[in-house]
Symmetry: C2
Subunit: 474 residues, 2 copies
């Protein structure tokens, strides 16, 4: 379904690629994707998008009209255009698995290849990883707030374009949502399709009761009724009860009601009382009006008897924090087999990059599944105790620490490009749940979470310092 997106690239990537192709044809580059700030002031991001990255890389080419367009810009020479016309991707990818909780500065994805090629990939890889990781992260937050109650993704109409609806839904499932109203995404990714009815159904009939009866006749085993078209308590729930009893009498099991306006706590409590009094304790109540991880805990704390949540724009756009600012930074070059770590020095130490080819390890208390810290190391380091590390957070003191007892698991692994990446979304969701459960509960908190410690090894810190010193001497 993903189109060839080779042209979804900023112009300067072509211009730099053309320059690298001519000036540094034998140099390979290593770029890391990582981020610095967590959306919604959380403490981590749930990685997502790798399957689509692999799809794009497996079909990365320029067709004749693309080449004609680029030629028409009168910026690029024939040699470079011929190279693009016959483009053969020669890159390797290392990445964390989708669903992995990732902390600031930890590489989500690393790509190595000819400098011109890896430069060309920047924009499209960031677009995909930033978007899907943003929505997976938001879904983690909302499902965490829902505390076990199923969350249905309902946002297609407010998503930022078709892909945002389609791949945003995929990411929402990775982050913990249970189902979606989006039929295209449901079909594409094997997600349960969910939904009830809209107010327009009710309005199209002479009465609410007639509308409910007609619905129940059509969908006797899927009768979830929207009860707020006219008046939830005076009309919607009483009419729903009439129809639910008719369904029961005919041997069907009524599903539930949905409330999409008004004060959810008040209406849900009174609707629950009406349903229970009518002998319908199994009828579920779904709420779906402008909910997110800030509103849901308040409703639950008030005792709102809600069984499901339908979440629209606030999930599919991550509206309270709609950007994940992942970046793509040069970590090393390799010329004639010689690796040269690279650094981007910034006025703020916080923005100075970690050089070299790296691996992130999650550290567990020995013999347990309790993660207590991560450590970013050079990929060729042996991670054995005692391990000298410093805190990677540049705002804390670079106090030296020696770790003596830990089990270490690497987060990144090579990604084969000769086959599609695993993309069964509920398998990824289960993986994410496992990895989330390993984190300290105070790190998972939605508001003011505790900062999870991410170390860098002494060896990596020393390399960074050495390159900073060299940059100053230039």
């Amino acid at each position: 379904m993903m189109r060839n997106l080779a042209m979804l690239t900023d112009l300067y990537e072509f211009s730099m690629a053309g320059g690298f192709h001519r000036e540094l044809p034998k140099t390979r580059g290593v770029f890391d994707i990582f981020y610095r700030n967590v959306p919604d002031h959380g403490s981590f991001v749930v990685a997502a998008g790798l399957a689509q990255v692999v799809d794009v890389l497996r079909d990365f080419h320029f067709d004749a009209s693309d080449i004609a367009y680029l030629r028409g810009l009168k910026l690029y020479d024939d040699d470079f255009l011929a190279y693009l016309a016959d483009f053969k991707l020669d890159c390797t990818v290392t990445a964390v698995a989708e669903g992995t909780p990732v902390f600031p500065r930890e590489p989500l994805l690393t790509v190595e290849g000819p400098l011109d090629q890896v430069q060309l990939l920047e924009t499209v890889l960031l677009n995909i990883v930033n978007h899907q990781s943003l929505i997976a992260t938001k879904a983690r937050r909302i499902t965490f707030a829902a505390a076990g109650r199923p969350v249905m993704e309902f946002g297609a109409r407010r998503a930022q374009g078709p892909d945002a609806a389609i791949y945003g839904t995929r990411a929402a499932i990775i982050g913990g949502a249970a189902s979606t109203s989006n039929v295209l995404a449901a079909k594409a990714f094997g997600i349960p399709a969910a939904g009830t009815m809209a107010h327009s159904w009710v309005e199209a009939f002479p009465s609410e009761l007639a509308a409910f009866r007609s619905w129940a006749k059509q969908y006797p085993d899927n009768a979830a009724l929207l009860v707020d078209t006219y008046d939830v308590l005076a009309s919607g729930v009483p009419n729903a009860i009439i129809v639910f009893k008719e369904l029961l009498a005919a041997g069907h099991k009524p599903v539930g009601i949905r409330i999409d306006s008004g004060d959810i706590t008040k209406l849900a409590k009174l609707a629950r009382r009406q349903l229970d009094a009518a002998g319908l304790p199994d009828v579920k109540i779904t709420a779906s009006n402008a909910l997110d991880e800030y509103v849901i805990p308040a409703l639950l704390a008030e005792g709102a008897p809600l069984d499901n949540f339908g979440i629209g724009e606030k999930l599919i756009t991550s509206s309270s924090s709609p950007v994940l600012s992942g970046v793509y930074k040069l970590a090393a070059t390799r010329t004639n087999g010689v690796l040269k770590p690279k650094i981007k020095v910034s006025a703020s130490i916080e923005k100075t990059t970690l050089p070299g080819i790296k691996q992130t390890y999650r550290l567990y208390r020995p013999g347990s599944c309790e993660a207590f810290a991560d450590v970013i190391a050079l990929a060729d380091e042996q991670l054995t105790a005692p391990l000298a590390v410093v805190n990677s957070n540049p705002l804390t003191t670079h106090k030296r620490i020696v770790l003596t007892a830990f089990d270490a698991q690497p987060l990144s692994a090579p990604v084969p490009l000769d086959q599609p990446a695993p993309s069964k979304v509920f398998a990824i969701q289960r993986f994410a749940k496992t990895k989330l459960a390993e984190l300290p509960s105070e790190t998972q908190r939605l508001v003011n979470p505790d900062t999870y410690t991410v170390y860098v090894t002494q060896q990596l810190a020393d390399l960074q310092q050495q390159l900073m010193d060299e940059a100053k001497r230039d």
Copy 2:
């Protein structure tokens, strides 16, 4: 380029369509898309997305795998599935032209057709219109703040998926942007492609000067240099000046510098001084770090000598207000040729819809291009003075007013579906600029704009009241 998006639909649309197909097969429905709240507390939205709506409607069909998927849901009967498999769109569309400033409650797009069909279209039409109108509106704000200086769209890497980058760029041009870094969008929509270089270019060379020289050799007539990789004033601008002088000596015209970090006002002022002192007053300065319509006026007020702006995530996601909550509401049904206006009554009068098939007129002072108000009327009303109207804002008194002197121009027109819609984005941008210039300047203000008056005709207000009274009696 737009794929067949018939399946980009909420499940309940299929369920309602199936029900309408069976229960109300002879009833046609009329739905309006309109919105209630303006993003960023502005006073209007710039309509966009119609060309893609037409593309979707012209290729609206379900293929065999779609039908198989829907059959597998075990919700829909064979008759409805056969109807979908042989779907023939039988709808008409009326809409405001792309680029039109539209106020709350005014229909952006109205679709009439068999109830089952118009119900099925809801999600995808809202998705497209909400997204593109949101970004066009944000682009209007940012280009207004830039006060004539060109705005370059730079956001592809932070957009919410590929379509958000592609169609968001299209909408950004409609709203006033001058160019884009997004090559795919530039090619697809005939937009100038713009860009300089990234920090990775500079870092890939032994020195900044070597990187600039190499760039100038490759692109002697397109030498826009990024000067903040190491130190803007101590290194970036001095090295750029060396290269610009070499270019001048070789008969080329240097383009400019770009500053992407640090304090933009301070750096731009000092960089300008260095450039001018070097005899390079024509070299332009572009700023591109986290800018939007709130930051730009502050920089300009401080006298920052900026010639262009590159705007990333804050434009392409409308990050300060990332959702346009357009809705799709039933305005009428038509059975055997008899039109029946419909209303959605809400506990809040603000959310009660305007019934019937409507037209919006922009009212001008006679003989001028000065718009002073809009009026929403029933489509078959004659708009002649004296015209009895009430204020459409339900929070103001329903005071009766008689308008005696105005020229009225209708905003909506039928949209042919037998051909693609006009989609030359700069023609649409020019149209938008013309329509914006007609509005009172205090309505265009970015912060606390004056509310533009939107009336409804007395006849429409009376119809609304009559339907509200009938609904209460039910």
